[in-house]
């Protein structure tokens, strides 16, 4: 016999009348608990920019308190179709969100993904760890910044981008790009949440075959400089040209200029060689510049493969 049928009539009807409120409260507790738990988890970045984790936590706690108020001090009310509908919608969302969290947790441990042989892999500096923001390579000083910061500087037509820089990126190869001695370097930038993420890309080529051994999907730290995208890159290299196409040599500060208008058609063709972007991010290839890699180091996938911070000046977020 159920609890309901054992209650006296008035008490039972009072309890039954309070059930819709209690169900609302349980829904709020479920959502609030989920938000609070996700805000505390190490997979929060998979959905939102980590800088919002405190906001999510606070909202989760307030939802739980509001839910408790409905569960513990309900008012009599009627169950309606609309009310059931919103409870069902919230439960469906919670199921979807839990599945998504589970899916994120099933992916290879972030930071553990290591496509490079152990001996070649360079330990990835942790975001909190102090890093040398001006590493030296072969007598050249490089400025560390992240790919989105460089992209934004160029997008804003700023002239004070560093002449030599170091940045981390994932390599993307296709047969068409290989034939032209090019690769794509990409990072995903997230301002608020996954829905507004952008995949920012640069074409890149390597000096003396610097990039030739790097496989698609590998993470690298590139030490290099900017050169303009030129129409000549559209033509596939002949066999006699051998390895990857090299640039015109390092440029001094602010020498790199966007391609002239006459080359625009050829450049459009070059941009179309880039593989199309895949959801959830919109993909953008830098239309004016390519990165000429002077040195490349394989690294592990960063703990946060997305970029969440974009600074306009030194020290850059890297």
């Amino acid at each position: 016999m159920s609890v309901l049928t054992t209650l006296p009539h008035t008490e039972r009807s009072g309890f039954a009348a309070s059930l819709p409120d209690r169900a609302d409260g349980l829904c709020l507790l479920g959502l609030g608990g989920f938000m609070a738990a996700l805000a505390r988890s190490n997979l929060y970045w998979y959905f939102l920019n980590p800088k919002f984790s405190h906001l999510t936590m606070a909202a989760g706690v307030i939802l739980c308190v509001a839910g408790l108020a409905l569960v513990l001090a309900p008012r009599a009310g009627r169950a309606s179709l609309g009310r059931l509908l919103r409870q069902a919608a919230l439960l469906i969302f919670l199921a979807l969100a839990a599945a998504s969290w589970w899916q994120a947790a099933q992916e290879p441990a972030h930071g553990a993904f290591d496509p490079a042989p152990e001996a070649d892999a360079v330990p990835t500096p942790e975001p909190e760890a102090p890093v040398d923001l001006h590493p030296m390579k072969n007598g050249t000083s490089y400025m560390r910044l992240n790919l989105a910061e460089l992209y934004i500087m160029l997008d804003k037509k700023r002239k004070d981008y560093p002449p030599h820089f170091a940045l981390r990126a994932q390599v993307l190869r296709t047969p068409e790009l290989n034939a032209r001695g090019l690769v794509l370097l990409r990072r995903t930038a997230v301002v608020c949440c996954l829905a507004d993420s952008l995949e920012l890309r640069f074409f890149a080529s390597g000096v003396d075959g610097t990039l030739s051994g790097v496989q698609s999907g590998e993470w690298v730290e590139i030490f290099g400089h900017l050169e303009p995208l030129t129409a000549s890159l559209v033509e596939p290299m002949t066999t006699s040209q051998g390895g990857p196409q090299t640039g015109t040599g390092p440029v001094t500060k602010n020498q790199a200029k966007p391609a002239p208008k006459a080359d625009k058609a050829a450049l459009k063709e070059l941009l179309q060689l880039a593989p199309k972007g895949e959801p959830p991010s919109l993909a953008f290839n830098n239309p004016g510049f390519r990165i000429q890699a002077e040195s490349v180091e394989r690294i592990k996938e960063p703990a946060f493969p997305y970029l969440f911070e974009f600074r306009e000046k030194e020290p850059f977020a890297w």
């Binding site: 909202a59 997008d155 608020c192 829905a195 507004d196 920012l200 199309k276 959801p279 959830p280 239309p287």
Partner: protein, 314 residues
């Protein structure tokens, strides 16, 4: 939907709902506080002012009541039920997600301190908002709101006047005892949140489907012609349903589009997207809902096309 597409879809839906939830909660909390602690007379006094003053007040109210579009509908519904004239409430609802310090600052940062983009964005939101408020301004709150939205029923009646269907809160507004008042605010916040979360979830599901299957090539195809770019960016704003605090950064990255198209994206998204559409259709009766949906879309299209064709903005 294959497993990979489902994973992307569910991650997008989750991220949109979780991003919007705190702001929706803030709007619900504000609405509940208004319901429990603010008497009808305090806000209804606005009705004594002329329509122009009501609209002007509503347009700039976001500067002191910052909110994004995720939380503005429950606040507006409550304001209307409290007797705030539609001229003020509707202009607030459409303008506040943009005409607020956070959104204006984000636009300024995203467009490299370009004040013209900030000013044009505010103007392109305020003009349609004022137009909609002017059209609906002579109505009474009860003529605009559907009575049936209060799915939970009675608590509003107990705490702050009943949901009798006329569109106004009724009942005494004697200040409740502190603990009772807090309990009423919490219960009402929870119910308001659940009322509006339904539409947020529906919108997020639709936006998730769109983002998962959107062919990205079309962005490049439509970016070169103004007459294609403006409606394409308006459609994009509606379909991807990004919060008004973040959309400027996405717009700034779409630099291949002409500026009038970017402004169309920035102006329309906070007034109309897949989260707001079901909310408008459920909160407002059919005619006012159609006005709230169609007038901003038509006005933004006409204004941005004019700016582009006249050469004021390139």
């Amino acid at each position: 939907m294959d497993q990979s597409a489902f994973a992307i879809f569910s991650a997008i839906v989750t991220s949109i709902v979780l991003e919007a939830a705190p702001f929706l909660l803030l709007g619900s909390l504000l609405s509940a506080v208004l319901a429990v602690y603010v008497g009808d007379g305090a806000l209804a006094r606005l009705a004594r002012r002329g329509l122009g003053a009501q609209i002007g007040l509503g347009l700039v109210a976001g500067l002191v009541l910052p909110t994004c579009e995720c939380g503005v509908v429950p606040v507006t519904r409550r304001l209307l039920r409290k007797g705030v004239p539609p001229g003020a409430a509707i202009s607030f609802m459409l303008a506040a997600p943009v005409v607020n310090p956070v959104c204006l600052a984000a636009t300024w940062v995203a467009f490299q301190g370009d004040w013209r983009m900030v000013a044009w964005r505010a103007a392109l939101v305020m003009v349609p908002a004022a137009a909609v408020a002017w059209i609906l301004g002579s109505a009474k709150g009860g003529e605009l709101l559907r009575p049936a939205l209060d799915m939970a029923g009675g608590d509003t009646a107990h705490a702050a006047g009943g949901a009798c269907g006329c569109g106004h809160d009724h009942g005494s507004h004697a200040r409740p005892a502190p603990l009772q008042g807090l309990l009423d605010v919490l219960r009402l916040t929870g119910r308001e949140f659940l009322d509006m979360a339904l539409f947020l979830i529906i919108g997020a599901l639709a936006a998730g489907l769109f983002k998962t299957y959107m062919p990205q090539e079309w962005l490049g195809l439509v970016s070169t012609k103004l007459w294609l770019a403006v409606p394409a960016m308006m459609l994009l704003a509606v379909l991807i349903s990004i919060c008004s605090e973040a959309d400027a950064f996405v717009a700034a990255s779409l630099s291949m589009f002409p500026r009038p198209a970017l402004l169309a994206f920035l102006a329309l998204g906070p007034m109309l997207d897949l989260k707001l559409l079901p909310a408008f259709l459920t909160v407002f009766k059919r005619r006012p809902a159609l006005v709230v949906i169609l007038v901003p879309a038509l006005a933004v299209f006409a204004l941005t096309m004019s700016l582009g064709l006249s050469g004021v903005l390139q």
